[in-house]
Symmetry: C2
Subunit: 329 residues, 2 copies
């Protein structure tokens, strides 16, 4: 297990609990459409009790990205924390079965494995309420510098910033990556996450991040500006590469001073947007680690995002390497 | 909670663990395509370890039928056994969220909640390996005669015959139903299940069953005949109603001496046949409890089966009452 890795992703190990919902349900439970809110165990029990019949499928933002990289044929690992319970066993099975190295042992104490309760509205938008559980108890002790050092890119999800010990794990991972002369990538994850951690995110982006993923709202809120172009310029001052995702309008990539606009990949049936950003990052990072140019990286991201939003669940069902053949030749 | 019920279903409380698989995987693991085999905890661990990433969704044959009845707008209850663990909580949530009364408390000791590992091959056929766990530890003490007495039909799944104490629970439920002058329905479930329990199934059908569900192979093996018509005639000697399902050729219903052939409902995209028989029974029993004739009962069965095989998972996603409006007027 000491081969080189393309990407090691660090983030929340979560099981997604997906159900169809309507706007009235979101309003009744104080959920903001399209966003992620953190909830405690009691809130999770209450919300779950009100939800319709659900489907359980492994998720977690950075974990989905790692699975996407593996589906492209890349070598990926995931660092995150589950308990030694049934949901943790499901998470561990699914990520390994997807070909991703998962080097963290299940915790024998602490909170139960985390889960994200996800309402998918008729417009295919997903709204999430996450009980972090064991995943939020990740500490820097769970980060093995040797695993980080094997990866061309260490990819961090912003969501994990919601727990201070997990934040330490990030800084440790980023430092280990740079010591090994590797790249660090970050996704801002969610606009509320940005609001909660603006100062620290800015510091992280300034000091540690080589590749930044964000959507327009997240990046604008990070720099407290109105125009995405202004936010892009600010980020590009600090990061080698910035990929700004714009939903159905594709993405804009700033890389080494050049700007490339990348179209979205066509989607026949939009079903569930869960995982769109995670899979964009997967395609982009796979392309980057294989030495492709910024435009092709963006196209691989668009391709992977289109696949994942055409079905329920945040991990690819199709083989992304096969789907990417027309692009990679 | 003392309103009358249309159907109380008694069976295994299982979580389905669904994954795509190919014929080679089935062969390697000694699985017979289309059938259900029982496995122990160790075998389940080994098989699961070899399986690809999966989706978890509540299942269990009779439980699926109860959910189908509720989706038609009927009043349904389910009697089955889970442990007080995470998978048991998922099962209990899903069946209650579907509007089904679930009056059995989770067990505080014994095996973990049961699960069915399901491989769906590219032809949409499902092959199952079931670890019964807590569900196989159902005893007659879990059957509340008062619940049985409230239901117009008590529906039993053949699968539960694989555990002697559960079998006692069946005989108790059937006896309670008849004491309350209610109907008893049985599904033979699986041809291997019939082979394992032929004599007892024949006795049950002869002495206790008013409504029998079976496919052609199951019914032929029950009476050890070659021609489905001969098997139908034998069953009709003992049961008021026999519904013989024939996959894409629809079903044949023998009721009160008359024979009706019912066509299959058209299916646009066949995705996963899991639950086809369970949902046929749901539509049929809903029609029966509402006083409809044999042909309409069969058509409601075909409609529900068509819905469930057009997506992954063994419980309806669409509202069956709405789908049935053109038939029910």
């Amino acid at each position: 297990m000491h081969h080189p890795l393309d990407v090691v992703a660090v983030g929340n190990a979560l099981l997604d609990v997906l159900t169809a919902g309507d706007e009235a349900f979101l309003a009744e439970h104080g959920m903001v459409k399209g966003a992620m809110v953190l909830i405690d165990a009691d809130q999770a029990d209450r919300l779950y009790a009100g939800m319709g019949p659900a489907v359980e499928v492994s998720g977690g933002s950075a974990a989905n990205t790692a699975v996407g990289v593996a589906s492209f044929g890349g070598d990926a690992a995931f660092v995150g924390r589950v308990r030694d319970d049934q949901l943790g066993a499901v998470f561990a099975h699914d990520i390994r079965a997807a070909g991703v190295e998962f080097p963290v042992r299940p915790a024998t104490d602490g909170s139960p494995s985390g889960r994200s309760l996800i309402l998918v509205t008729p417009d295919a938008e997903r709204t999430m309420a996450t009980f972090l559980g064991a995943s939020g108890e990740l500490t820097s002790a769970d980060v093995d510098d040797a695993v980080i050092g094997r990866a061309a890119v260490t990819f961090l999800e912003g969501y994990l910033f919601d727990r201070p010990p997990a934040k330490e794990a990030y800084f440790r991972a980023a430092a280990a990556a740079h010591r090994a002369r590797r790249r660090v990538a970050l996704t801002l994850s969610d606009v509320f996450c940005v609001e909660r951690h603006r100062d620290e995110f800015r510091r992280l982006v300034r000091e540690q991040v080589d590749v930044l993923f964000a959507n327009e709202l997240e990046l604008c809120r990070l720099y407290e500006v109105v125009e995405p172009d202004d936010a892009l310029a600010a980020a590009a001052d600090h990061c080698e590469t910035v990929a700004l995702t714009r939903s159905e309008r594709g993405s804009v990539v700033l890389h080494a001073g050049a700007r490339v606009a990348v179209p979205a990949h066509p989607v026949e049936h939009l079903v569930d947007t869960t995982g769109a950003g995670d899979l964009y990052a997967a395609g982009f990072l796979y392309g980057l680690t294989r030495g492709h140019d910024a435009e092709l990286c963006g196209r691989l991201g668009s391709l992977a995002a289109a696949e994942v939003i055409s079905h329920v669940g945040a991990r690819p069902v199709a083989n992304l390497a096969e789907l990417a053949e027309p692009l990679l030749g």
